[in-house]
Structure formats: structure tokens, C-alpha cells
């Protein structure tokens, strides 16, 4: 470097330090994971894998033994592996739906649940083939007694609707909270608790007589 004047040397030192700072900043940005929004997606699709055709022949009145096929899906955008559970509940018009504001689940009875470990950015989809295998009518009320979901029969406790109108199946997304060591309705991200739930209404106006 003897061919250089002291001024050139100083300039070079300044340039080196500037480049070093810039390159180290680039390295820091490249090695530091960027924060992103954390959330889940929950969806229900109809028989043709679309947000349509939820009922056979587009008739919301489901008959005894009539098969209905939906697809349940969850997408994990939490940035890590998550253990999720979709709770399937059955209710009528008067039962409370989940409370978005206070993150409270619906008091409707749980029929079954689907559990799965999902990776980050992974979508898990499962068929939900169901039918009403037994329902009775007593007075004005129609009681659903058993549901068949994915070839398994589930006894339903205390689910009735006036004239068989406005039953609903509620899907709630629960996630495993590692700090609480339990499932919680919804998830916590960025200090905020969020919930995801869906409901599909149907009628059951042709029960057997009690």
C-alpha cells in the first residue's frame, strides 16, 4: 500500500468500514427471522370441494339416513407445528353460538372431534360424511338421537328443535396450548386471543314417530 497517499488510505479505511457496516446489516437481516402474522384458517366445503352444494339436491331438509358429505380443513399459519382439534357440536336455534368477543365456546353438546398435528403452512383436510341415523318427533319437537359421522355412530344427548327446523352443526377450532398443557378454544397470537368457528344450518322435518 506504499503507493498510496495517506489521504487515499484514509478514504479506503472509511469505505471499508462503511461497506462492513452495510454488509453486516444485510447479514443480520438475512439471518433474523421476520415476524409475521400468526393465524389459522378453518373452512367447510361442500360435496364438490367448493363453498357450495352443502346439501343433497340443494335441499336444507335432511332426511333420515340421507348421506351428506362436507370437507373440513384447517391451515396452520402459526410458524410452527400445532396440535389442533376440530370439535363438532350440534345445536338448535336457541343454543348460544361461540362468542367471538370473549372467546367462549358454544355450550352445545360435543358430538365428536378430529385431532391432528399440522406443520407450518400445511393444510389438513378431512372428509366429513354424515347422516342422521335416528330422529324422533314428540309433539312439536324433533329430537335427533343418533348421528353417523364417517361410518361411526354417535349418540346425541338433548338436541331438539321446534318442528325440526334450524338445527345446526357447529365446528370449533381448538388448539393445544403448551404452557397450559390443555386444549383451548382458538389460539393466542401477538398477545391477542382469536377464535375460529363455523356453523351450517339444516332442517330435519321427517323424523320417525315416537
Amino acid at each position: 500500500m506504499s503507493f498510496m497517499s495517506s489521504q487515499n488510505r484514509r478514504t479506503l479505511i472509511v469505505i471499508f468500514i462503511t461497506l462492513l457496516i452495510v454488509c453486516q446489516m444485510v447479514a443480520y437481516v438475512a439471518t433474523t427471522p421476520r415476524p409475521r402474522e400468526q393465524f389459522f384458517q378453518l373452512y367447510v366445503l361442500g360435496a364438490k370441494h367448493m363453498a357450495a352444494d352443502y346439501y343433497p339436491n340443494n335441499d336444507t331438509d335432511i332426511r333420515l339416513g340421507e348421506p351428506v358429505t362436507w370437507y373440513l380443513g384447517v391451515t396452520d399459519n402459526m410458524g410452527s407445528v400445532q396440535l389442533v382439534s376440530i370439535l363438532v357440536k350440534i345445536g338448535n336455534q336457541t343454543i348460544k353460538p361461540p362468542d367471538d368477543q370473549q372467546a367462549l365456546e358454544s355450550p352445545a353438546p360435543v358430538v365428536t372431534q378430529f385431532m391432528r398435528f399440522i406443520q407450518d403452512n400445511e393444510t389438513w383436510e378431512t372428509p366429513f360424511a354424515w347422516s342422521i341415523s335416528d330422529a324422533v318427533s314428540s309433539g312439536n319437537a324433533t329430537h335427533i338421537l343418533t348421528l353417523q359421522i364417517n361410518n361411526e355412530t354417535y349418540q346425541i344427548q338433548d338436541c331438539s328443535a321446534s318442528n325440526g327446523h334450524n338445527f345446526r352443526i357447529i365446528f370449533e377450532l381448538w388448539t393445544w396450548q403448551t404452557d397450559a398443557n390443555a386444549f383451548e378454544f382458538g389460539w393466542t397470537a401477538g398477545g391477542e386471543h382469536r377464535v375460529a368457528w363455523l356453523q351450517v344450518w339444516f332442517n330435519m322435518t321427517s323424523p320417525r314417530l315416537a
Binding site: M4, L12, V81, Q113, M115, Q177, T178, A182, E184
Partner: protein
């Protein structure tokens, strides 16, 4: 809510213009503000706290939760999605077996249920061990990558400085050459 906002806005307006208020009005405003403050405090207390109820669903063993923690540690250490995918597949298989074990309620199925539980336990142990190994490997890899990136940055700075020095040197040579090539002409 609108009424409250309106009321507060009115008081703010009055506070801003307190030069126009006489002395008898001031204590009244203060007492009203005190009432508002008390009411606001009561409203905050009355609002139901943000409650998130947690519950354990089914017969899921806490082991699944422990294994999930180990998996999170691997991911934090920098394990790739393909490395984690293998363990997630095993965990889902364990979940399926656990679900099958739950359905075996008959007295004659006790042995089968115990076998399934043992199998699930074995799978979870395997996942935990692999996750621990993965955490070590991934953290070493992440550390090496980080060091290499920073060293790369330093090398880039050195190369940039050398390039600058060469460019300046060439430019100076070019300028000298051009100067000596100049012809002086009389006008």
C-alpha cells in the same frame, strides 16, 4: 357509547374554555368529572374479564404436549420443514393409534388397548429422541450458517474495498494517460 363520547367531548370543550367559566361552575365540573371517573372505573370492573376457558379434550395424554414442546424446540433451533415433516407424520400415526385405543372399551379388549398404548408411548419416545437430536443438529447448522453469513459480509466488505482501490487506481492512471496525450495547440 356515543353518549359518553359526547359528554366527554363537552367537558373537554369546557375545560379548554375555562377562562370563560365563573367560579361557581368550576366545582360543579370537577364533581361531574369525579362522577364520570367513578362510573368509568365501575364499568371497567363490571366488564367480564377476557376469559379463555381451557379444557382437556378426550383422553389425550400430556405426553403429546411434551412432544410438541420438543418439536417446537427443534423448529426454533432451525430444523427444516422436511426434517420436521417426518416427525409430524409419526405423531399423527400415534394420534390415530391413541384414538383406536380410546375406542377399545370392552373388558376383553384391555390387552389390545394396553398394547396400543405401549405402541403410542414408544412412538412418542422415538419422536422425542429424534427431536432432541434434530435440535442439536439444527442449532449447530444455524450457528454455522450465521457465522458464515457474517464472515461472508466481512469478506464482501474487504473485496468491495479492494475493488474500489483498483477502480480508483485505474481511473487515476487513465487520467494521467489522457493528460499526457493532450496536445497543446496555438489559437
Amino acid at each position: 357509547m356515543l353518549q359518553w363520547g359526547h359528554a366527554l367531548g363537552r367537558y373537554r370543550y369546557m375545560a379548554c374554555n375555562r377562562d370563560y367559566l365563573n367560579e361557581s361552575q368550576l366545582p360543579r365540573i370537577q364533581s361531574k368529572l369525579a362522577i364520570i371517573a367513578v362510573l368509568a372505573l365501575l364499568a371497567v370492573i363490571a366488564i367480564e374479564p377476557f376469559a379463555v376457558r381451557s379444557q382437556t379434550v378426550g383422553t389425550l395424554e400430556p405426553r403429546f404436549g411434551q412432544t410438541l414442546v420438543k418439536l417446537h424446540q427443534s423448529e426454533t433451533a432451525g430444523a427444516t420443514s422436511s426434517e420436521v415433516a417426518e416427525l409430524v407424520a409419526l405423531l399423527n400415526k400415534a394420534l390415530e393409534l391413541d384414538g383406536e385405543a380410546v375406542k377399545l372399551n370392552a373388558p376383553d379388549q384391555t390387552q389390545k388397548r394396553a398394547d396400543l398404548r405401549a405402541q403410542v408411548d414408544q412412538m412418542l419416545t422415538t419422536v422425542e429422541n429424534r427431536a432432541a437430536d434434530l435440535t442439536v443438529v439444527a442449532s449447530q447448522r444455524s450457528y454455522t450458517n450465521k457465522v458464515l453469513t457474517y464472515v461472508g459480509g466481512a469478506i464482501a466488505a474487504v473485496l468491495g474495498t479492494i475493488a474500489y482501490a483498483f477502480i480508483v487506481a485505474f481511473y487515476q492512471k487513465y487520467r494521467v494517460k489522457r493528460t499526457f496525450q493532450m496536445r497543446v495547440t496555438r489559437k
